[in-house]
Amino acid sequence: MRNPPLAWRNVAHGGRRSVAAISGAAFSLVMVLLQLGFLQAVRITATNNFDVLDFDVLLTSARFEQFYAPGFLPLERLRQAQGVATVESATPLYATFALWRCPPSPLDAPPDDSGPRPGALSRWLSGSRTARPLQRRQLYVMGFDLDHPPFRPPIRDSIEANRARLRVPNRVLLNAESHPDFGWQVRDRYRDWELEDTAVEVVGGFDMLRGFAADSTVLCSDDDFVRICGYGSRETINLGLLKVEPGTADATVSALRETLPGDVRVSSRAEVLEHEVDHWVNQTSTGKLFAVGVLVAMNVAAVVVYQVLSNDVREHLPEYATLRAMGYSTLRLAGILIFQATLYMLISFAVAVAISEVVYRATEALAGIPMVMTRENLALTFALAMAVGAITGGLTVNRLRSADPADLF
């Protein structure tokens, strides 16, 4: 090696100081990766709801905000859309929030309804085993024409497997990924399900990612949906799902925008997905919240590393002063300090990735949200870590001003 590995040796022989720097910075980077993971989960859940639906073009109300607040549009618009030559099919989807009667836990000896409710921590730790009285919680309900279910496999497969049973009124499919409170785990032992004010029967399940807006979803026939959710008729729908001839999506969108009145919004699949991500990430406070979280975490990392590095320099001032006396320029010493800070961040990054992987899996299991460590997020975190290393190393150079070689004589 051309130059002695001073920065590396200072890290390796730093003892408790290095441990403090690395653990502090690693903790901050875990926070960063978690924030980015949550943001990624928001993106995934935002698009996942549409990913399970089978459509090329989407008709919504002109006041459409996002999947869970779609607004209303007349069924007539679907019939009008079918008048466009390239439209192969048009399927209505009814969707709204409704109250669900969650089974008590444990089923055979539920706690007294008037008794104290378990705290957040015990609920979080116990999960589905938390003792709770019978309660009603909101979930998302989607109704559709059983003969033309607008879903992609595997949800379509689940519907077709239970199609005959769903034709009997007041029967539903419950999301197998639901929060434990909604009772999927006790479906075989519990019979007193209710959706809004209607007793229903859970005849099967399907797999759909949970989102941030709804902890559970049920599917039912359009007839049941209209009756149970109080829509009055099937003429008012929430989403219109169109399949078009291959390669004509953009042309069909243009044609529909010319054909349909202004109370309906026509969007291609790509536009819908982009709109949904934009809504959750940029229009709500979600994106800003996580961005602030990343910023704060990186500042914490910077402060920790700066403190450790500053103390390190302060304790070795005579050594650095000697280097200056020997002819080391401030720039050259800055290089050593920046490299040392970067090493701290590099090791912290590796540690943080390993810890985050565990935390991601735990969060996924406990919260039921998809936590994916993407290459982009890893690259962003790595870049932030290196930037923090370079900046803190650079800032620590100020400390070297105290290392006056003239004081050595």
Binding site: P4, L6, H13, T322, L323, S329, D404, L408, F409
Partner: protein, 387 residues
């Protein structure tokens, strides 16, 4: 100001101008810390010339300004007033970049070893070679050679925590010397070394000064063992260079003083201080050095050769190595008590009236010593009421 115009102020015979290749030239150097009301001047009009290949010892009490002067010569501080040239580079107006560059030509040895605890002995020395990069093998070879010469060949891969204090200091010395600097500035380099290690280091410094590189060595030290290796002693008091003596002449004077009857028992440091006040004069056989009855203003001590003393025209005694004669009549209120003529060619060490009074100011017991010296020659010699 050009170097040709520069001369140092030399006011004693033992002072000797530097050789032709002057590598440190200081003229009228002043320095002060602070500003305004807190301004404290620590260097006053200092003049110094040191040649290539000289080993120079800088002495002086704490606060005498020697460290400040050393930091200026080492380009560790910027100059304020005066002219300073080091290794043929004018530091009077040098900026930070120029000073950093010249420091690469200087080997610094500090009292503290200042080794990085995380680096091995070899790597600490390699921190110096990194400033003058060569191939890795060549740099490592130089470091290993230097550490081996300093007796650390078996411990090159040890961390400082695994070395003794003396070994750490030797690593620091190796770090200072490994790039074969043109100038070495050292602050008590042997303070933490045992006798053997000190000898090795001093031999090495002397060898560098005498070798083909003719390295100049400037040491601040109170180690008497170093005197044997030095060419010159610079003594500072109160921010000013008061003596700048050639060591070999100084050693001869000290030896003569030590042999002087009335000064027996004085310590080496006191004799050295006294020697700093003395000048050297040469006389040829037959020269009359002092005449009985004249008003004298000098004391003499025989360094070499033999003189004859006459009282009232009659031969009285011969004056040999370490014997004294002469008189400062205005102080002791008596004329010269005897005539002294050189029998052979002589080297005589002389203390004139002004330097006698200075020496007296340094050490009041000195007067008694001189009086006892003179007792045989001039009984009843008394100091003047107001010298």
């Amino acid at each position: 100001m050009t170097s040709a115009m520069l001369t140092t102020t030399l006011n004693r015979a033992v002072n000797k101008p530097a050789g032709a290749d002057v590598v440190i030239r200081a003229v009228g150097v002043n320095y002060a810390y602070g500003a305004g009301e807190t301004r404290t001047q620590v260097l006053f009009d200092n003049h110094l010339e040191i040649s290539r290949g000289e080993v120079v010892i800088m002495t002086g009490p704490s606060g005498s300004g020697k460290s400040t002067l050393l930091t200026l010569i080492g380009a560790l501080r910027s100059m304020q007033e005066g002219y300073l040239e080091v290794l043929h580079k004018n530091l009077s107006k040098a900026g930070e970049g120029a000073r950093v560059d010249i420091r690469k030509e200087i080997g610094f040895i500090f009292q503290q070893h200042n080794l990085f605890s995380s680096l091995s002995a070899l790597e600490n020395v390699r921190m110096a070679t990194a400033l003058k990069p060569a191939s890795v093998d060549e740099m490592t070879g130089r470091c290993v050679d230097m550490l081996t010469r300093l007796g650390l060949g078996e411990r090159i891969h040890h961390l400082p925590s695994e070395l003794s204090g003396g070994q750490k200091q030797r690593v620091a010395i190796a770090r200072a010397l490994v790039n074969a600097p043109s100038l070495i500035l050292a602050d008590e380099p042997t303070a933490s070394l045992d006798a053997n290690s000190s000898q090795v280091v001093l031999d090495l410094l002397r060898e560098l000064a005498d070798g083909p590189s003719r390295t100049t060595v400037l040491l601040v030290t109170h180690d008497q063992r170093v005197i044997d290796k030095a060419d010159r002693i610079v003594n500072m008091v109160g921010g000013k260079i008061v003596t700048n003596s050639l060591t070999k002449v100084a050693v001869r004077i000290v030896r003569a003083l030590a042999a002087t009857e009335g000064l027996v028992g004085l310590g080496e440091a006191t004799l050295s201080r006294l020697a700093n006040y003395m000048t050297v004069e040469d006389f040829s056989a037959g020269d009359e050095i002092v005449r009985q009855g004249d008003e004298g203003d000098r004391f003499y001590i025989v360094g070499s050769g033999v003189a004859d003393a006459y009282k009232d025209g009659q031969f009285d005694e011969e004056k040999c190595f370490g014997e004294s004669f002469g008189m400062i009549s205005s102080y002791f209120k008596i004329p010269i008590p005897e005539t002294v003529k050189a029998r052979t060619d002589m080297e005589v060490y002389v203390l004139d009236k002004d330097d006698f009074l200075r020496a007296l100011a340094d050490d009041q017991s000195f007067e008694g010593r001189i009086r006892s010296l003179l007792a045989g020659a001039a009984p009843g010699a008394q100091p003047a009421a107001t010298p």
